[in-house]
């Protein structure tokens, strides 16, 4: 864990501390978080070795197809998924919709994803995530966006990618943007850090922390467009510490086999022999979409 997170010295048990919030993200590292829309899918995900499930009413590719306003899922549906699985359950709130987040916290979800896949509720402000006991994950396309989310209290950052496309190119762009700038900041001198903070539109202390530690202050995961085991291993080799797979599993022909293969590929991301073995015979992956053909991109939502 980064040194910046102090241990509590309160003699009484204290919930919702930065350490326990970021700590859960640490525990999810090296794992796969899978989008599920019903209890049956949640069981398949857990059976396959998912470290957590994301409960939502429609996977991103269906949201993309159906259009309209996408909102928080029905609490009954989230409760149904919580009831059948013992692994952490995450759920999405709209960007800036702090009441949806309050409801998700009251439901006892384990992580809230303030997500660009849903239709934003506020065009200037994200949720003040420091006010919550439940931890938040937020998407980012670049380092500045990641640091703004962390300054608002996010305890995990994921690449946005372009959800629901089965096309990994945007996730790669976002991961490379984030890790590349981290490497450049590590090499900067102290005077240059002020300019970095200005260019990134990010708080100076976070830029200085990255300069010292060479890493984001919270775990960095990958999301958006992952469809095959090799995509998960690519994200991990590019520096992601875990992966989210949305439409890629349950929009494929054999979700159970694909889910298991992606879990193994995430663990053995540096072992091409195992990657070759687990990639065999999975049947057709979800049909993908070219980014240029999209009417609506989700990744540009967020400020």
């Amino acid at each position: 864990m980064p040194d910046a997170v102090p241990v509590s010295t309160d003699p009484n048990p204290e919930t919702g501390t930065q350490l326990v919030k970021r700590g859960l993200a640490e525990m999810l590292k090296g794992g796969v978080i899978m989008d599920v829309v019903d209890p049956e899918q949640a069981k398949i995900a857990e059976d396959a070795g998912a470290v957590a499930v994301m409960a939502l009413e429609r996977v991103p590719s269906d949201i993309r197809r159906d259009g309209g306003v996408a909102r928080m899922s029905d609490p009954e549906m989230i409760e149904g998924i919580k009831a059948v699985t013992t692994i952490p359950v995450m759920a999405k709130a709209r960007i800036g919709h702090f009441v949806e987040a309050q409801i998700l916290e009251a439901l006892g979800v384990d992580y809230v994803d303030e997500s660009e896949v849903l239709t934003p509720a506020d065009e200037a402000h994200h949720i003040d995530k420091w006010k919550f006991t439940v931890p938040f994950v937020c998407g980012a396309t670049n380092l500045g966006e990641a640091l703004r989310r962390i300054s608002e209290g996010a305890c995990m950052i994921r690449s946005k990618g372009e959800a629901g496309t089965g096309n990994v190119v945007e996730a790669v762009r976002h991961l490379r943007a984030i890790t590349g700038d981290i490497r450049r900041i590590t090499q900067a001198d102290s005077a240059e850090l002020f300019d970095w903070a200005k260019q990134l539109q990010a708080p100076l202390p976070l830029v200085q922390e990255i300069h010292q530690t060479g890493q984001l202050p919270v775990p960095l995961f990958c999301a958006g467009g992952l469809a095959i085991p090799a995509d998960a291993a690519l994200a991990m080799q590019l520096g992601a510490q875990a992966v989210f797979v949305g439409s890629g599993i349950f929009k494929s022909d054999n979700p159970s086999a694909r889910a298991k293969a992606i879990v193994e590929a995430t663990t053995h991301f540096n072992d091409p022999g195992i990657l070759a073995k687990v990639s065999r015979g999975l049947g057709p992956a979800m049909p993908g979409l070219e980014i240029g053909s999209l009417d609506q991109t989700f990744a540009n939502r967020g400020w």
Binding site: S8, P11, E14, V20, E26, G31, E46, T133, P135
Partner: protein
């Protein structure tokens, strides 16, 4: 001394950092051959259902059982405690554990993430308190013979040990306090 860190899934990095800071060499274990030249094993926190499945698919389950049976020392934190326990309560019906210490552990016994907490612990053998970090944490419900309890929260055992095995429901690796890891290294040396 070379400590193997089970790296199938979970918070591997923090254990590596704290073990390095007290002079131990660590190596990540994902395949059976990597077990050969390690003197002891650490199983990190993470998701026990995921790790249990990957132990089987990676072919590590049986070699680990053999090494533990021949006396290799092991430390487990949170999910690692569950993996080393003889009985897992509230686990998956098909969840296998390594049964290296005779305890029954209940998964997520302290509740969900919103119930995760920090609190100072009295640990036997340590002066002053130890920072306890509990994340969707388990606790021990059944303590077998030959197992000593080194710390409790509301009377529930959260640190247990034998001469060979040390398990905690909390995460010493997420703090700067090296004392629990030092206890483990002393155990390995003896």
């Amino acid at each position: 001394m070379k400590i193997g860190l089970l790296a199938l899934q979970g918070a591997v990095g923090p254990h590596a950092e704290i073990l390095a800071s007290i002079g131990a060499t660590t190596v990540e274990i994902r395949r059976p051959a990597e077990l050969d030249d390690v003197d002891a094993l650490v199983i990190p926190g993470g998701e026990s259902t995921t790790m249990a499945r990957l132990l089987v698919t990676s072919g590590l389950f049986d070699p680990l059982i053999e090494r533990l049976a021949s006396g290799m020392c092991a430390m487990g934190t949170c999910a690692g405690m569950i993996m080393l326990a003889s009985t897992v309560l509230d686990g998956r019906p098909d969840q296998r554990s390594l049964a290296a210490i005779d305890i029954g552990v209940r998964r997520n016994a302290f509740g969900r993430q919103i119930d995760s907490f920090e609190c100072p612990l009295e640990v036997s053998g340590l002066t002053g308190t130890f920072p306890g970090v509990f994340i969707r944490a388990p606790f021990v419900e059944e303590v077998g013979s030959g197992v000593s309890v080194g710390a409790t929260v509301e009377d529930h055992p959260v640190l247990c040990s034998t001469e060979q095995i040390l398990v905690t429901a909390f995460h010493p690796e997420l703090t700067d306090d090296q004392r629990v890891h030092r206890m483990f290294l002393e155990m390995v040396e003896q």
